[in-house]
């Protein structure tokens, strides 16, 4: 028997916010995020009622096919979402779900990841962004037993600081069927570890730069961070960007691919690009799309 926390069992036996949302007033929008499948053994439908004026989640409910930890994780997620704005909700991670429950067995971490994915699916639906733009199914399928792509595996490795193929299986099930993809998962882990080593090298290099950068040094560093840290992540999601110009502390970029015209491009600019440049080079840098 699994070693579940009391809170997991409590939320399994007495789940909060189960069912679909049926009542909708003017100014409210109901959206659903669906992930998983009956073939894989767990599936979740997350329903959100969003107040259009405040962009706040007024109600969150769930319907889950799965084990005790899947049901408890889904219920915990709905509790975490209540009252959050849509943008705040996007920052809810699978770690928060597991922390809320006092932890999950490592083998059951995929239940919390499923919650995070359903949340993203629901919010993308709300924003009218085609799921294909962010769906990990865009990548190459690595685990054919569970239909898991390299994009999804890379994402979960980065998000959860995963170091072993066994952990990948626990978090996204990849490799948990016939196991023949485990060597490929090992390759992906090695690739990401190499990337991270490179990023660390860049960060160390930047830290050794003089306190006041010349314009040329600043532009070179911006270009380096964009090339080595930012572009690989955007490219994985079907997007890309190009450095257009640097005027003082304003970094002007051209968004390309899926990033160009994406409804959440502002978030990408601020969260993924500006924050990275600020942390890596100068806290005063701002990023604008041209």
């Amino acid at each position: 028997m699994w070693d579940y926390t009391e809170k997991v069992m409590e939320y399994f036996h007495h789940p909060r916010n189960q069912g679909a949302i049926t009542e909708q007033k003017e100014g409210e929008k109901i959206v659903t995020g669906e992930v998983g499948s009956i073939a894989c053994g767990d599936a979740l439908k997350l329903h959100l009622k969003i107040d259009e004026a405040t962009k706040t989640i007024a109600e969150a409910t769930f319907q889950t096919f799965g084990c005790a930890s899947a049901i408890a994780s889904s219920s915990a997620l709905t509790e975490l979402l209540k009252g959050k704005t849509v943008e705040e909700a996007l920052n809810v991670t699978n770690h928060e779900i597991t922390e809320f429950l006092g932890g999950l067995p490592e083998e059951k971490m995929h239940c919390s990841v499923m919650g995070q994915e359903a949340l993203e699916a629901a919010i993308y639906n709300y924003k009218g962004i085609p799921l294909d733009n962010h769906e990990e199914s865009e990548g190459n399928i690595i685990c054919s037993c569970f239909g898991i792509s390299d994009t999804k595996i890379k994402r979960v490795i980065r998000d959860n600081k995963i170091t072993t193929a066994e952990q990948v299986t626990n978090y996204v099930k990849a490799g948990g069927g016939c196991s023949t993809c485990l060597p490929e998962i090992d390759d992906i882990l090695a690739e990401i570890a190499t990337e991270e080593e490179k990023s660390l090298e860049v960060a160390n290099k930047i830290r050794t730069q003089p306190a006041v950068l010349t314009n040329l040094q600043k532009i070179n560093l911006i270009q380096q961070v964009i090339t080595e840290q930012i572009r690989p992540i955007l490219i994985e999601d079907g997007g890309d960007l190009e450095l257009f110009d640097v005027e003082g502390d304003v970094v002007k970029v051209i968004l390309k691919g899926a990033c160009d015209g994406c409804a959440s491009s502002t978030e990408t600019l601020k969260n993924a690009i500006e924050n990275t440049l600020q942390e890596a080079i100068l806290p005063t840098l701002t990023v604008e799309a041209v």
């Binding site: 036996h13 669906e34 009956i38 073939a39 599936a43 799965g66 084990c67 005790a68 049901i71 059951k108």
Partner: protein
């Protein structure tokens, strides 16, 4: 909580109190080594011989045909390996897709060592196609290893019909009868079985003891090399208290064989009660050719672990073939081999009874189960075969 209601007897059974009483003196007082030449060892040796006779009687075999082992897995491994060693020129093994891992995983290992293994499939009732067996048999077949009754569904295979075909090709025939012994009468003297495995803890003896029947005249090379114990067929000092316990358990199993009909009546009451009160539930496996104590029921649209933990809240212990209960991510290989729809596959529960199961326990289970199933179905996004999401996934039927 009330006394647990135990419906997981195919996993393991309660040790019979008479069995405990029989084995205790061999833990406390008669601790001699049966191989010792002194009186203290001699009386222990006699107890081992008596136990061997009790096991032989249950199987309709001779004492000399019984080797005590540590478990069912050891018996299965020892039999298959011995059969291969006895016919070094033959390279084919035939088994089924629904065997216990003790057979399946050994066969997979042997494949890597150059043996050719044929895994026979089963139909939607979990039954073998004997035509497929006929087609697979060749003069190169060294051993056919087929279980008597399946541990998950209880489906009983036509062992004698299989044996006749196996013998026609001169192959050796191993039967894993771990689930069948004690529930079905045996007479190995008149059967075509060469090797038969049983396990003590499935028949109300303790864990850590089993037996392997080896037909007189069949060449047997030991799997465990050591002293002269078990007539040189299995080295290692005998686990006397467990052997004595297995002997007593075998004697009691033989005595209780007629009362298996009562187990079946209770099993049928449970099964029919479930089917009458819970919609979208169905029996997995052959409803007729089945062990009298086993019922495997698929509850559509919900997942097995959730059912088990809910039952556990009421003190009811059962088992599930769902992936979530096992640490593996794949549901039961047996239920998959039956080609069950995904809507059923993940939500199948095995109820396995014993002679200690009571009518009141059945009534209690029938009282709580509908509530549990309804609650979980209320939580599920799949509530019928026409659910849009289910339809989109085109997964009404697996494989």
């Amino acid at each position: 909580m009330n006394e647990p209601i135990y419906f997981d007897n195919n996993a393991t059974t309660k040790i019979d109190e008479e069995v405990i009483a029989t084995m205790l003196p061999y833990l406390q007082t008669y601790y001699g080594n049966p191989s010792s030449m002194h009186t203290f060892g001699g009386q222990v040796g006699r107890a081992v011989r008596e136990a061997r006779g009790q096991v032989a009687s249950l199987l309709g075999a001779q004492e000399s045909e019984i080797i005590f082992t540590s478990c069912g897995t050891e018996g299965d491994n020892a039999a298959i390996l011995a059969a291969l060693k006895a016919q070094p020129n033959k390279k084919q093994i035939i088994t089924t897709k629904v065997e216990h891992p003790a057979v399946l995983n050994l066969c997979r290992k042997l494949e890597k060592e150059g043996y050719v293994v044929t895994y026979l499939g089963v139909d939607s009732k979990g039954q073998l196609d004997l035509g497929e067996l006929e087609a697979a048999l060749t003069n190169d077949t060294a051993v056919v290893s087929i279980m008597y009754a399946n541990n998950e569904t209880g489906v009983v295979f036509p062992i004698e019909e299989i044996g006749q075909r196996v013998k026609a090709y001169g192959a050796l025939f191993h039967v894993d009868a771990v689930q069948a012994v004690g529930k079905i009468p045996f007479n190995l003297e008149t059967s075509s079985i060469d090797f038969l495995t049983l396990s003590g803890h499935k028949i109300h003896a303790p864990k850590g003891i089993g037996a392997l029947y080896v037909r007189k005249g069949v060449r047997f090379r030991p799997h465990l090399i050591g002293g002269h114990q078990e007539r040189g067929r299995r080295g290692g000092t005998e686990n006397v208290p467990a052997i004595v316990a297995l002997g007593k358990a075998a004697e009691l199993a033989r005595k209780h064989l007629p009362s298996v009909a009562e187990e079946q009546r209770l099993r049928d009451k449970l099964e029919q009660g479930i089917l009458a009160t819970i919609p979208d539930a169905a029996v997995n496996g052959d409803p007729i050719n089945r062990l009298p104590n086993t019922s495997n029921i698929g509850f559509k649209y919900i997942e097995g672990e959730a059912i088990l933990l809910s039952l556990d809240q009421y003190g009811i212990c059962a088992s599930s073939g769902s992936a979530c209960t096992s640490g593996s991510l794949e549901p039961s290989h047996v239920l998959q081999a039956l080609g069950l729809p995904y809507t059923v596959l993940h939500g199948s529960i095995r109820f396995s009874l014993s002679r200690f199961t009571t009518e009141a326990e059945i009534d209690r289970a029938l009282d709580v189960l509908p509530r549990i199933i309804n609650r979980l179905r209320d939580l599920s996004p799949f509530n019928n075969d026409n659910a849009d999401w289910l339809k989109e996934q085109s997964l009404a039927v697996s494989h």
